[in-house]
Symmetry: C2
Subunit: 384 residues, 2 copies
């Protein structure tokens, strides 16, 4: 395996009836900004639980953070955080609210110019308002990492930044939050977590059995438990296993010391930027194309994946790879996620726009940095 | 799975040529106490590497920490740390040196009475001198947890304490340190890590597939990579996989949200206390006895272990359990660790002494707290 540095100090508080513990985790005498989304936390009762737990705390609220959170929205929250001089931000929601909160926390203390530089120029985050999370939707893994993905509406750009400064101080994960999620969000979450694992696993072999076995363990758990959650939303144990899988999928552990891909994410972000397609659905579209176009480069790992995850042991290597792709597509579709572009009304014009965007940017994608704009085009053409 | 809290802020710096990075990790202008063992670090060159890396740092040295570190030795180091007013302790060695360093760090700032209370009475550690580790021997997992096991010679007691205050700030893991280890230490390390996993896995099912798959991933890696390390000490990749396995075996992750046993460790400690047998060897003796005596209570998990780790699929449940125990014994013996008491010149008198010690203490062992002194006796009698 490669040399690596791994550090993840996030305190995970996992299980039933844990939301009420939030008061013990926030700093004493701090002014707290509560960030949340479109109000589902009010319908589910999570908002009331938090207000009760924090009844003796000085609170400022910023609601209305959208899915694929907007830079423009975040900057309104930054203004509020500055005006109100908040000491700590508590994110209540899924990955979108938490990603927004991370950007708000960093942007509020950014003094080296335009805060958009944190994303566009990957400017270093020297400090951030400390933050914590109550996670209501397992999917992105944002609850145990320093990653954030933000969309700037004005320029139709969706891009990421990462900094240890915006790792949550704590994340409260109560699997009962899954009970009230609609099917679509559960299905998206399963696929999002699944592809986070794939992007750190389906690369090339560097002799890293611990990372490989852990990755396979998360994949097999998502395959076994995901459908159970969809079938019975009150199945606490399956919800818990799904939730812990999504966290472990992107907390740095399975990616430590191994090559990583992220081409599927980078291309998927463009589909969201141009067409507003749910993040997980863009991944479900793009991944089969990446597997097909990079079948030679990723051969050993796709064969390992096929055998260990789907039990594929017969046929030529090419046939095994085809079957692995087919099983992957079948899994996503069984959860209700279409995997081709026409199913989302995306046509060849968008492929041209995305291809030219990668041509302009110039950099190449993938674990070998060998996916140029021509291959991006081939990947998307595979999904027409 | 159970509710849990998981937090592990240790910074792991893993890989080739990482020892030279130590100077970047220790606090500026701090007075450092270097702790180490019997001098093997001087033979292997690790000592020289560290002295070079820390040539501009104010250093105090405390060498001579023994295997199964003595309380009496630690207290000498505590005196030195106090006299010299050290700000940071750097542990250079294996788990014994690091466990001693953790106790020294806590005892030096303990002001509530006799420092032995930290162990004997599990007195709370409110503060400790910050510490870091350069790990030269993969085995105990001490590099990424807050655990420490100390032996008091005067009373022939070997006992543990645990506190987040003594987690290393950083641990440098250079797999090349394995190159110079004698066979016995490598074999002991493999078995120690293996049984750490077993103690968190071979209990009863709480529907925790992530924890189970991770545990199985570590076990299978140790089985595959351990013998390669023994066969070729300069095989870097196998050494790296062994080292990372040992760390992951006891950093809290696979034990989060699941029942844990630790009976094998508790009984094993007594064999070390009375006979000075290497820690790992005591575990290799005791575990098969625990599996045999608790075969009904642990049935589901032993069957899962047998099938997933050793491919045991035929026979009655009882036969499968017998085969699982036999395969486990065979693995330990293949590494050179005898697994019965007579092979260590331990006879029935010691069993009586250990049994009566557990009778006096009164508490019961195991994940169900149902192993009383009679069962301790049965476990040891099984190993005669």
């Amino acid at each position: 395996m490669y040399n690596f540095v791994y550090q993840n100090p996030v305190k995970v508080i996992f299980g039933k009836d844990t939301i009420s513990k939030v008061a013990e985790e926030i700093p004493l005498n701090a002014k707290i900004m509560l960030t949340y989304g479109g109000g589902s936390i009010k319908k589910t009762g999570v908002y009331d639980q938090i207000k009760l737990a924090l009844k003796d705390v000085e609170l400022v609220e910023f609601g209305g953070i959208e899915v694929n959170p907007h830079y423009e929205t975040c900057m309104q929250a930054v203004e509020l955080a500055k005006t109100e001089k908040v000491d700590f931000i508590l994110s209540v929601g899924g990955g979108s609210v938490l990603d927004a909160t991370k950007f708000i926390a960093a942007a509020a203390l950014y003094s080296d110019g335009d805060p958009w530089d944190i994303i566009a120029k990957q400017a270093r985050v020297k400090k951030a308002i400390p933050l914590g999370a109550i996670l209501t939707l397992p999917a992105t893994g944002s609850e145990m990492n320093g990653n954030s993905v933000i969309t700037r509406v004005s320029s139709q750009e969706k891009m990421a930044f990462s900094s240890p400064k915006v790792m949550p101080k704590f994340s409260i994960l109560d699997p009962e939050c899954v009970f009230t999620l609609p099917d679509k969000q559960v299905a998206n979450g399963i696929v999002d977590a699944f592809i986070h694992v794939i992007e750190q696993y389906l690369t090339f072999d560097v002799n890293s059995p611990i990372q490989d076995r852990f990755a396979e363990g998360i994949l097999s758990t998502l395959i076994a438990e995901g459908p159970k959650v969809l079938a019975d939303r009150k199945d606490y144990e399956s919800a818990a296993n799904f939730m812990w899988s999504a966290t472990m999928a992107l907390n740095g552990l399975i990616g430590a010391g191994v090559p990583q891909d992220w081409a599927t994410h980078m291309i998927g972000h463009e589909l969201t930027a141009f067409h507003g397609i749910d993040h997980a659905r863009t991944l479900a579209i793009v991944l089969p194309g990446v597997m097909h176009v990079k079948r030679e480069s990723k051969k050993d790992k796709i064969l390992q994946y096929g055998e260990r995850i789907w039990g594929i042991t017969s046929g030529t290597d090419d046939e095994k790879i085809d079957t692995s792709i087919a099983k992957t597509v079948e899994f996503f579709e069984s959860l209700g996620l279409p995997t081709t572009l026409p199913e989302y009304d995306v046509d060849i014009d968008t492929i041209a726009k995305i291809t030219s965007r990668f041509e302009e940017r110039g950099f190449k994608l993938g674990e070998k940095a060998d996916i140029d704009f021509n291959e991006v085009e081939a990947i998307l053409m595979d999904r027409l």
